[in-house]
Symmetry: C2
Subunit: 370 residues, 2 copies
């Protein structure tokens, strides 16, 4: 039966999945194993009749899981026996990674069977494989990882990038991050006209590093032709503050900020539970407040924020949190579906190429003027 | 009577304050005005018979406040009519600042009347005046601002620096921050042998920027002769995480991390109060939990964390939070007293000079070897 499924239509999508939007899913590498991943796929499939999957991992293990969740009709399995572990170095994975489920997952995007890949595995390895196999979009120097951040804005989330694809970013990279991040906020979060800020240590224009001042001008110029509003420099407090929807920074600063915020949230959770254990009365209050506290936890839980999305490659990769449960996997798949449905990556590529041509025009004019 | 107080002993301390540890206090520039500052001084004076003050600001306004709080015997007033405002640019303050209470506050440290200054005013202006009037300690290239951070460590706080004195820091600066920060943790927080980490995007040695790898080696070498334990690279989540007591980073990253954490704490406070308003039951729970929630608020309230301490100058400056109330001012004064009593700055200067000599020795040897 599986061999029947492997018949492909003209676009390269397995015939069984024809007419569906296909997501390539890595079954392995997450902390909770393939079972949580397949359970997440089933959650998504139940809500969304238009979705189909190519699932990568050891076929013998995956077949019963897929059957149990009644996904056989909507899921093609690609056998890949090896697994990339969480602590494996990216360089090591690049040498021996071909037989892994992660490699195979990206390969389905590379050959056009799927537009978006989802994996809960090792971030560094996933980025390394994605870079080498998918390659960068024309005009992009550094791909970026964008994450969703709980926020006081209307949408409940802001987009921040780069949070760790590369530790450096020059002014041109930051400008490209602005384009990529605002495109993602539009297509992934449905924010029509995202408000965008450039992260700095002060909001006055004279502060901060030299490359940030140049990036400020580049983004301001780009914003006139793009569909986002540039709010200028923002500070760390503005990331969750709700004044902007997209925050642009280099991968070093973004990664520190993300992990600091996660650490702060976890510190407050600890303090909160200590506070509620302090007296008999506070223990009663904690009991009554259980639902409220769970609601709070949900809003700040990083597992629900889908980890990150790799932007700037020929294909989109959604990195779900390593500890994602079925709900976490399902929300990563939902995001992947949205990005695939809106043809996010094609539109981003077109926008970047437009801008590249405009840049060349400007340079040509400058050359003529000189 | 005030003129009597101005008689000085041989060390330059006003005679009326002789035998006391004298703190130079800026009455102006905080959001809550001189009243909150004088109230904070009174709180400290009530708890600590060894403390005396030189208070800077408009004498006519301050005299009644000081009399009301029964501080006349322990407080010398220095008349300074001008005030540095919160949004004034440091460069502007440097040109016209001589008549301000802030300038006068630093001047008392410069001329040896007081060992430590406390101000709730504009951070940038305070740093600019401190740099120019106190000057850097021999061997220090860049002074730093250290802040206290709520933490899961035994002490309840960790020290992080630099959080914004300078946006750059090279490997040598980072190494000096390690010495300054660990000295501060020892003398200010009473941590005998601080555990210190260098902030990076990954804990493996191969990750991160080039200057961080060199700083890693410099700090490791320095730690063998200094009294702190070097824990190597740490990540953003480790700042509040309790594994280390001192976190070293450049002022750009430190400032972003600090403001991101403050923003996250404030986001969670908002979400928490929304969660507690959600249903009638949760409103009852909130009522019962009031004390617990206040206890939590206290632990994460930045006003209680004394803002920052300027390190690496000939004299110590404690920057209290702009919105400090009497309790906030009093805890800044307590910290200033501790640092003054332990002769923190003299000991730091000696340590830095030792290290400088060791450096020179090494360089001499290298020169001979070459």
């Amino acid at each position: 039966m599986t061999s029947d499924l492997e018949v492909q239509d003209s676009s390269g999508v397995p015939a069984a999945l024809s007419g569906r939007i296909v997501i390539s899913v890595d079954a392995m590498g997450g902390d909770r194993g393939a079972d949580a991943v397949v359970a997440g796929m089933a959650e998504s499939a139940a809500k969304n009749p238009d979705i189909g999957f190519i699932l990568h991992g050891p076929k013998a293990d995956l077949e019963p899981l897929v059957a149990k969740r009644k996904l056989t009709e909507r899921c093609v399995i690609r056998d890949a026996g090896d697994v990339v572990t969480m602590d494996e170095k990216p360089s090591h994975v690049m040498r021996r990674g071909k037989g892994t489920s992660m490699w195979s997952t990206i390969e389905s995007v590379r050959n056009g069977e799927a537009a978006v890949a989802v994996s809960c595995g090792n971030t560094g390895a996933l980025m390394a494989i994605s870079m080498v196999r998918l390659r960068k979009l024309p005009g992009v120097d550094r791909p970026a990882i964008a994450c969703l951040w709980p926020s006081l804005n209307a949408n409940g989330f802001s987009v921040m990038l780069d949070v760790g694809a590369d530790i450096r970013a020059d002014q041109r990279d930051l400008m490209q991050y602005a384009l990529m991040g605002s495109a993602y906020a539009r297509d992934g979060l449905g924010i029509e006209r995202p408000r965008l800020g450039l992260l700095n240590v002060g909001t006055e224009e004279h502060k901060g590093r030299a490359e940030l001042k140049i990036a400020y001008d580049l983004i301001e110029t780009a914003s006139r032709r793009a569909d986002f509003d540039f709010h200028g420099f923002v500070e760390g407090g503005d990331i969750p503050g709700g004044e902007v929807d997209v925050i642009v920074t280099d991968g070093f600063t973004g990664n520190v900020a993300l992990k600091t915020a996660e650490g702060t949230a976890s510190l407050i959770r600890t303090f909160l539970s200590e506070a509620f254990k302090h007296t008999p009365l506070s223990r009663v209050a904690a009991l009554l407040a259980m639902t409220s506290l769970r609601r709070l936890s949900k809003r700040i839980d990083p597992r629900r924020n889908n980890g990150g999305v790799f932007l700037g490659l020929n294909g989109t990769v959604v990195k779900s949190h390593g500890s994602s449960d079925a709900t976490g996997v399902s929300s990563a798949i939902k995001l992947a579906f949205k990005l695939s449905e809106s043809r996010f990556n094609d539109r981003l590529a077109a926008r970047l190429s437009e801008l590249g041509e405009a840049d060349t025009d400007t340079q040509d004019r400058s050359a003529t003027d000189a």
